[in-house]
Amino acid sequence: MSDNVLETNGLTVTFGGLNANDSVNLAVPKGSFVGLIGPNGAGKTTFIDAITGYVPMSAGSATFDGQDIGELKPHERAQAGLVRTFQSLELFEDLTVRDNLLVAAYPTKWYSFILDMLHLTPTDHEVEERVNWALDIMGLNNEADAMPTDLSHGRRKLVGVARALAAQPKLILLDEPAAGLDTAESQILGGHLREFLDHDMSVFLIDHDMGLVLSVCDYIYVLDFGQIIAEGTPAEIRDNPSVKAAYLGEQAGEIQAQAGEAQRMSTAKDGEVTS
């Protein structure tokens, strides 16, 4: 038994002759915060789609929590604790924010509909608490009874993350959660991301924002043209020449990286103060 909650071995996804993911080997140790970065079109979302079952793997394998998940359907992977968010929101627009979370949080049995129809289902306080916690951590308490369509794009993005949190995941896969967020929302998200680790979960983050990735991750993989071109700690990634060539070469990337380093230092200090 390895201590990795997620492991992929030679994971390959082919779209009509093009390898969107080419033999990706990647591991997320239990209780850790792992990032995946790469330029646009590198195959990052395809990778999440592949391990959550939304696109079929052409070759290779994925192991989650010691179990081969290659044959599982998307909802079975979610039930096993592998929960994702979407870049494109994909909220339940006819349900309130709280109901969005409750859908993911409430476990149902085959006979639940009978109890429901007779109004005999007891309230599960543990679930309700978890939902409240997820709303709280994403700062959505005041919007709990609003419809998602009445919220700003950034708030909706946070609802998506809260919905994933409410499902009590073992590993949460965040697909560009910071894209489209304003500064305040970005700070809410960035400030709380590492808190997730205190709730028995591991985190896998995809994002464009180098600052965010370098500041929160323990370990980072870099994807380009479907292949892992580098991996290592944030410091190693920042100094890796091939990463610089593929992604950070531009000056903007360099500035972002420095900003990330600065933020990391300040969060580390905050951590010392609180503990």
Binding site: H75, Q79, F86, M117, H119
Partner: protein, 735 residues
Amino acid sequence: MIDLPVVLAANLLQNVIFGLIAGLAAGAVFAILGVGLVVAFRGSGVINFAHGAIAAYTAYTFDQLREPGGGNIYLPWIDPIPELGILKTLHINNLPVSIQIQENPSTVLAVVLSLLMAALIGLMLHFLVFRPLRNAPTLGKVIGSVGAFLYLQSVAVLNFGASNRNDPGFWEFTSDADKKPPLENFLGLGSNLPRSTIALAVTAVIVGAIVWAFFNYSRFGLATRAADENEKGAALLGYSPQLLAGANWIISATLAGVAGLVFLHRTQPSQFILLVVPALGAALMGNLNSIIGATIGGLTIGAVASAGVSLTNESWWPTDALPADGIRQFVPLLAIILVLYLRGDKLPIRGSISIGRQPRAPATNNATLGMVVAVTTVLIMSNIFTSSWESALTTTLIFVLFMQSLTVLVGYLGQISLAQWSLAGVASWMVARLAADGTAVRELDFFVKDGPGLPIPIAMLGAIVAAVVIGLLVGLPALRIRGVQLAVVTLAAVVAIEDLLLRNVWLFGEGADTTNPMPVPTIGDSSLSGFNPESNQTDNWKYTMFLLIMVAFVGFLVVNLRRGAIGRRFLAVRANERAAAAAGIDVAQTKMLGFGISSAIAGLAGVMFSFKLSQLTSENFSPFVGLALLAFVYLGGITTLFGAIAGGLLVAGGLSAEFGALHFEGVTQAIINLIGAIGLIVNAIVTGGEGIALLQTDQGKHVLSGLRRDPSIAPEDGPLTISQEELAGTEGATV
């Protein structure tokens, strides 16, 4: 002796080959209709359920022109005023309906006028229905399309009557007439082929080729294809997408008219309405955009269905269990399911077109008070009412019960099924079969049904199980087929269920194909059947109580379902299947659960319906009844119990109709359905399908005013003119 099987096999082969060829006649009509559907779809992105009805109206028009004592055309609407009695004497503001042309017009004139009629209907559909709906969500377009179907069907019945027509048709004036003797022993296959079969097949190919060439080589065709790909882009190049759409509607409707004219000598005009099902099969085989594909698809479906039917003539074929008409209807269903299923995805792919806004489905949290009020009202009514009023009350209750099956399936889960009323029919037939014991239920029954003679409660349960089994089968395609395409599949299923199951003597015993005697539930010595032999009326108050308990109980269940975890999951699946799977919901299982619950409710409604009347025929469960019910529940509000109640009040035979009949003469079922159809279209345009019930809430008013401000959905430049005129007269009948 050894040669006998060989001879039989050769015979069989001959018959099947001949069947394939003979089927090209019907196939030709499917092909021409299918091409028209493709043209309309490419022009405006709409699947037009009313396409067969246009063919029917054109065929009626042609026949009416040539009828002795005819020579007139009926415009595709009715004059509400003379129908509504009290205004008859005033002679004001009459809408022209009938225009006298001349007795015995020439065929050319009749053909031209009929096709002009088709084009007029096409234009009406464009301007009054689909143009206002052009930016509406999928749901709005589907119910607009169903409304158009129901409207044209009702207007055809009102204007042309229900009696049979005998038009020798169009081909008698050509060299290749059906009057002429058929081609004897065609190709040595041992059977005689009507000459028009070949003419029809050739016509279909020519029509397909002309339309194909027109769209591929003309500027208009190029512009249409451009607008189909990218409407904004085409507009930037100086083409008006709406003008293009209007022109395409004229072409599409005229093609439907052509189909109606060339096949008239083989069938009744009214039969064309449901030919939209095989035509949809043809169009889908052309992927809704290939004219050649639709032509070949139509001919194939016709040929295969006919070959299948030719098998039923074989001595070994179990005709009782698999009747010829059932086979005929089953082939298009199979074609549609196969094409859509193979093309569908288990989950919609990333970036696929969104389904748009759905009607809101608020949870009802204060249901107890409403329930008490409703039940008390019914109790008081039942005490006051006698005879026809009691009967209208129970009709309303049955339909309130039934409509809750649609609340669950369409309202909560978002699966647009047109087949639920047919499932009520299956349950109705099944309870009669299971309860039958080979003796007459009533002295006057035509048929004595054989059966296991189960006690009524067990027979009820068996009937509901049967409805659930068939309902799950109908729902299976929904695992990969969504939105309007699911509506297409279920419409095909309705037609197949009617001919394959409801008229199946082997399954349902004597009378299934004509008049079914229905069982009598009892408690002790008193009858719970709706029919009261003492008054010779359907006004047994004990039946009303029995029914009321069922309606209230199911209402309780359905309201609670929405409030719980499963209800939330239904709405999640309705909103977004990809996200639902990511939230750990088994989408397939959830859909099947919805189909199961809905079918059980529909089955119970069918069983209760069968207890009301002493006899039922498959007409009671015809596709038109089912679609009218869907229209009224949408009008009431598809997502709530109050919507179902409002819908049940409006339905033909229900309390509003009874009230209307008291004040106005001539309120027939066709008129009520017409009102429903117009209401459905207006509802789709104004509220996006939310219905009356939700408009009364504050949120509903908010939504409504929001819609008015949104120019993309708001009705504009008088798309409602005719509807308003008709409503002005017809509203009186319902209020």
